[in-house]
C-alpha cells in the first residue's frame, strides 16, 4: 500500500515534467531552434562545477521560500506575502549585521533572529487581519508586498540607512567580514557554496520534526485536513492560524539571507524581490514535503542556472520561466486527475466488495 502511495505521489510530478518538457520542445522547434543541441547544451553547462555551485546557492534560496509557503499550505493558508516578508527581513538583517562587531557565531545568530523576527512580524499583520477582521490572507499579503517595497525604497533612498555603496547604487552599509557566511568553494575552485546551505538544511529538518513529531504539527495538519473536525477535538483555530502565519513569516524572513550573507553583504535596491512566487511553485512540486521541496528547489534552480547558457544558442533565457509556469499548471492538473482516478477505483472496489457480500447473503 505504501509503495502504491509513493507511486501515485510520484506519477503526477513525472507527468508534469514530461508534458512541460514536451511543450518546451514544441516552443523551441517553433522558433526554429535545434532542441537536442539546446537540451544538451543546458545539460552540459548545468553539470559543470561552476553551474552546480550556482545551482546549489539558488536552490538554498528557493528551498527556504518553498518551506515558508508550504507551512501555510499545510493549513490551507496562502502566504503570497513571502516576497514582502523576506525583503523586509533581509533589509533589517543587513542593517543589524552591518553594525555588529562580534564573534561570527553570535553575529550570525543575531542576524538570523532579526530576519526571522521581522518576517514573522510582517506576516503577523496578515494573521491579525485574518483572525480579528476576517480579511483573506491572499489579498492582505499581496497588499503588504507592495507596502514593503515602498518602505524599503523610502528607507534606502531617503534615510541614513542607505549610503552610496557603489556608483549610483544605494544600499545598506556593508556587513563586516566577521558577520558574513561566505561558505566554501568545494565544488568549483572559483565559486563558493553559500554557508547558509547548512543552516537551511537544519531549517528543513526542523520543519519535518515540527510537523510530524510534535503536538503542534499534528494539530496543524489536522486543521488543514478538516477545520471543523479539528475544532471539535479542541484545536483553537484562531491560535493555529496566527502561529502558522508567524512561523511561515519567520522562515520567509530567511529567504534573502543566503544571498545577503554569502554574496552581497549589503541590501541595495537591486536585491531580487521575486523569490517568493517561485516558492509557491516549488512547494506544490514537492507536495509540502521537505525532501520533495529540496528536490524541486534543485530542479528549478538547475533550469534557471542552465538556461543562462541559452543566450549563446539564440534562445532567450526566459524559456526557464515558461517551463516553470508550465510545470506548475500541468502538475496541479495531473494531481487532480490522479486523485479522481484514485477515488473512482476505490469506489469501484468498494462496490465490488459489497456486490460479493450481497451475492453470498
Amino acid at each position: 500500500m505504501n509503495l502504491r502511495r509513493l507511486a501515485t505521489s510520484l506519477i503526477a510530478p513525472a507527468i508534469g515534467l514530461g508534458v512541460s518538457l514536451a511543450a518546451t520542445a514544441v516552443i523551441l522547434i517553433s522558433i526554429g531552434a535545434n532542441v537536442t543541441v539546446i537540451f544538451s547544451s543546458m545539460w552540459n553547462y548545468g553539470t559543470s562545477p561552476r553551474a552546480m555551485t550556482l545551482m546549489l546557492n539558488l536552490a538554498t534560496v528557493y528551498f527556504l521560500s518553498a518551506l515558508a509557503v508550504s507551512i501555510g499550505f499545510k493549513m490551507n493558508l496562502f502566504n503570497i506575502g513571502v516576497n514582502g516578508q523576506y525583503i523586509l527581513g533581509s533589509l533589517a538583517a543587513a542593517v543589524v549585521a552591518s553594525n555588529l562587531q562580534l564573534p561570527k557565531a553570535i553575529s550570525i545568530t543575531v542576524t538570523i533572529l532579526t530576519a526571522m523576527f521581522v518576517g514573522a512580524a510582517w506576516a503577523g499583520i496578515a494573521a491579525w487581519l485574518k483572525v480579528a477582521r476576517g480579511v483573506s490572507e491572499v489579498i492582505s499579503t499581496i497588499m503588504l508586498n507592495f507596502i514593503a517595497v515602498g518602505i524599503i525604497s523610502y528607507l534606502i533612498v531617503r534615510t541614513s540607512i542607505g549610503t552610496e555603496t557603489s556608483v549610483n547604487i544605494r544600499g545598506t552599509k556593508f556587513i563586516p567580514e566577521s558577520g558574513m557566511l561566505r561558505g566554501n568553494a568545494f565544488i568549483d575552485p572559483d565559486t563558493k557554496v553559500y554557508g547558509f546551505l547548512i543552516i537551511s538544511i537544519f531549517v528543513g529538518v526542523g520543519y519535518w520534526f515540527l510537523l510530524n513529531r510534535t503536538r503542534f504539527g499534528f494539530d496543524l495538519r489536522a486543521t488543514g485536513k478538516s477545520a471543523s473536525a479539528a475544532r471539535t477535538s479542541g484545536v483553537q483555530s484562531t491560535r493555529m492560524i496566527v502561529t502558522t502565519m508567524l512561523l511561515s513569516g519567520a522562515v520567509a524572513g530567511l529567504v534573502g539571507l543566503p544571498y545577503l550573507l554569502g554574496q552581497t553583504g549589503s541590501y541595495n535596491l537591486q536585491f531580487p524581490t521575486e523569490w517568493g512566487f517561485i516558492g509557491i511553485a516549488i512547494a506544490l512540486l514537492g507536495r509540502n514535503n521537505p525532501v520533495g521541496i529540496a528536490i524541486g528547489a534543485i530542479f528549478v534552480a538547475f533550469l534557471d542556472v542552465s538556461s543562462g547558457q541559452l543566450v549563446l544558442e539564440g534562445v532567450p533565457r526566459e524559456i526557464s520561466t515558461i517551463m516553470q509556469g508550465l510545470i506548475v499548471i500541468v502538475v496541479v492538473i495531473s494531481y487532480e486527475v490522479v486523485r479522481r482516478n484514485q477515488v473512482k477505483s476505490e469506489q469501484r472496489s468498494v462496490a465490488r466488495a459489497l456486490a460479493k457480500q450481497e451475492v453470498s447473503a
Partner: protein
C-alpha cells in the same frame, strides 16, 4: 448599489467634492482638482478599473482570478506586437485576444479540471511573464525602434477628444479658486479634456456589466453559478458553460486593460503592468464585487497615482494626507452615530495622527503616496470585511453531479 440609485450617487459625489474642496482651500494647491489632474487620473484609473471588472466577471461565476496580472501582461504584449505592425486598433484587438487565451487557460485548469484556483492563477502569472519576455526578445530586439524589453512604437492613435468650448471656460473658472464651484468646474472639465475613446469604452463596459449581470436572466444564471452551482444545475443552468464564458470574458477585459496601458505609453514594455492586475483585484474586493464600488476604488488609485507623479512642488502628497484625514474624520463621525463605536474611534484617532503629521512636516516623500492606496485597501478590508459579501461559492471547484 446593485444599480446606481441616483440620490445616493449624487449624495456621495457631493460629499466627495466638498472634501476635495476643503482640502484644496486649506492647502491652496489648485493641482488637487485641476483639469489636467482629473484627466490624467482617468487614464491611470481605467486599466485598473478594467482589471477590477474582469475580476467581477470571473468571481461572480465562482472562479477566483489571481491570474488577472498575467492576463493583463498578455494584453500589454498583444497590443504592442500587433499595434506596432497594424495600428492601434489592431493592438487593442490583439490585447483582448491574448487576454482571452489567458482566461481560457484558467478556465481549463479551474473549471474542467477543478484545480485550486489560486494556484492556477499564480501559474498563469508566471507563464505570462515568461512568455512575453521570451517573445519580446525574439520579436522586438531587431525591430526598428524596439529593444529586448520593449516593442517599437505603436502605429496610429486611438481618438482622444477635447471639447474646448467646455474645457476653456471651466478651467478659467477653476483658476478663480472659489470654494466648491471651482473644484466642480475642474472635475467636469477633466472629463472633456483628452478623453480617450478607450476610457469611454471602459465606462460603457461598466454600464453593460451592471445591466447584464444584475438585470438579465443571463446575469442571474451566471451569478447563480458563483453562489450555488449545485442548485443552479438542478434548475437546468449549464454551470460549466457559464463559468467558461465568464472566465474567458474576464480574460478579455484584463487583456483590454493591458492594451490600454500599452496604448497610453505608445509601446509595450516589460513590467508595464507593475502589479495593476493585483490592484484591480483589490478594487474589486473594495467594491464588494460590484461595478460601482470597483470603479470608485480604481479612481482612487488613479487619482493618488496622478498626484504622486505630477508632484512638482512636493506639496501634492501633503494635500493627500490632509484629504485622507478629512475622509477619516467624515467616516468616523458618520460611524459614531451607528453602533460601531470602536471602529469610529479608531478612524478619528488615525485622522488626528494624520492631521498632526500634516501640520508638523513641510513636505512628504513620494513613497507615502506610493503605499497609500495599498494601506487604504487594507483599512477598507479591515473595517468593512464584515459587510463585504463575496459570491458564496467563490473559489469552490465545481463538478457536475458531485455535491460539495
Amino acid at each position: 448599489m446593485t444599480y446606481l440609485k441616483s440620490h445616493r450617487f449624487i449624495g456621495s459625489a457631493f460629499t466627495a467634492i466638498t472634501m476635495l474642496s476643503i482640502t484644496r482651500t486649506i492647502t491652496s494647491n489648485g493641482d488637487l482638482t485641476s483639469t489636467v489632474t482629473i484627466a490624467q487620473a482617468l487614464v491611470f484609473a481605467s486599466p485598473i478599473a478594467l482589471a477590477g471588472l474582469a475580476g467581477i466577471w470571473a468571481e461572480r461565476a465562482g472562479v477566483i482570478n489571481i491570474g488577472l496580472e498575467g492576463m493583463m501582461i498578455l494584453g500589454t504584449f498583444g497590443a504592442g506586437w500587433a499595434g506596432w505592425q497594424w495600428g492601434a486598433w489592431a493592438g487593442v484587438l490583439a490585447g483582448i485576444i491574448f487576454g482571452a487565451i489567458g482566461g481560457l487557460l484558467l478556465a481549463v485548469a479551474a473549471v474542467t479540471f477543478g484545480v485550486d484556483q489560486i494556484i492556477a492563477g499564480t501559474a498563469i502569472n508566471l507563464l505570462a511573464l515568461g512568455t512575453t519576455k521570451f517573445l519580446a526578445i525574439l520579436l522586438f530586439t531587431n525591430a526598428p525602434g524596439g529593444g529586448q524589453a520593449q516593442s517599437p512604437p505603436i502605429k496610429g492613435k486611438i481618438p482622444v477628444f477635447t471639447l474646448d468650448s467646455i474645457v476653456e471656460p471651466l478651467t478659467a473658472l477653476h483658476e478663480k479658486g472659489i470654494f466648491f464651484v471651482s473644484d466642480l468646474a475642474g472635475l467636469v472639465a477633466g472629463l472633456f479634456y483628452n478623453m480617450s475613446l478607450l476610457t469611454i469604452i471602459t465606462l460603457l463596459l461598466f454600464i453593460m456589466t451592471s445591466y447584464l449581470l444584475w438585470k438579465t436572466a443571463f446575469g442571474l444564471r451566471l451569478r447563480s453559478a458563483g453562489e450555488n452551482p449545485w442548485a443552479a444545475d438542478s434548475l437546468g443552468v449549464k454551470v460549466v458553460q457559464y463559468k467558461y464564458a465568464a472566465v474567458v470574458f474576464s480574460g478579455m477585459l484584463a487583456g483590454l486593460g493591458g492594451a490600454y496601458l500599452s496604448i497610453a505609453s505608445t509601446i509595450y514594455r516589460n513590467g508595464n503592468t507593475a502589479g495593476r492586475g493585483y490592484i484591480g483585484l483589490a478594487t474589486m474586493i473594495f467594491g464588494d464585487w460590484r461595478p460601482g464600488g470597483t470603479a470608485a476604488g480604481a479612481i482612487m488609485f488613479g487619482y493618488i497615482d496622478t498626484l504622486r507623479l505630477i508632484d512638482t512642488g512636493n506639496q501634492n502628497v501633503k494635500g493627500l494626507i490632509l484629504l485622507g484625514a478629512i475622509i477619516l474624520f467624515t467616516i468616523g463621525a458618520w460611524m459614531l452615530r451607528s453602533s460601531r463605536r470602536n471602529t469610529a474611534i479608531g478612524f478619528l484617532l488615525l485622522g488626528a495622527v494624520m492631521i498632526g503629521a500634516y501640520f508638523s512636516a513641510t513636505s512628504f516623500p513620494p513613497e507615502v503616496a506610493q503605499v497609500a492606496p495599498y494601506i487604504t485597501t487594507l483599512l477598507v478590508l479591515a473595517t468593512a470585511s464584515q459587510n463585504l459579501r463575496p459570491p458564496a461559492a467563490d473559489g469552490v471547484p465545481y463538478r457536475k453531479g458531485e455535491d460539495h
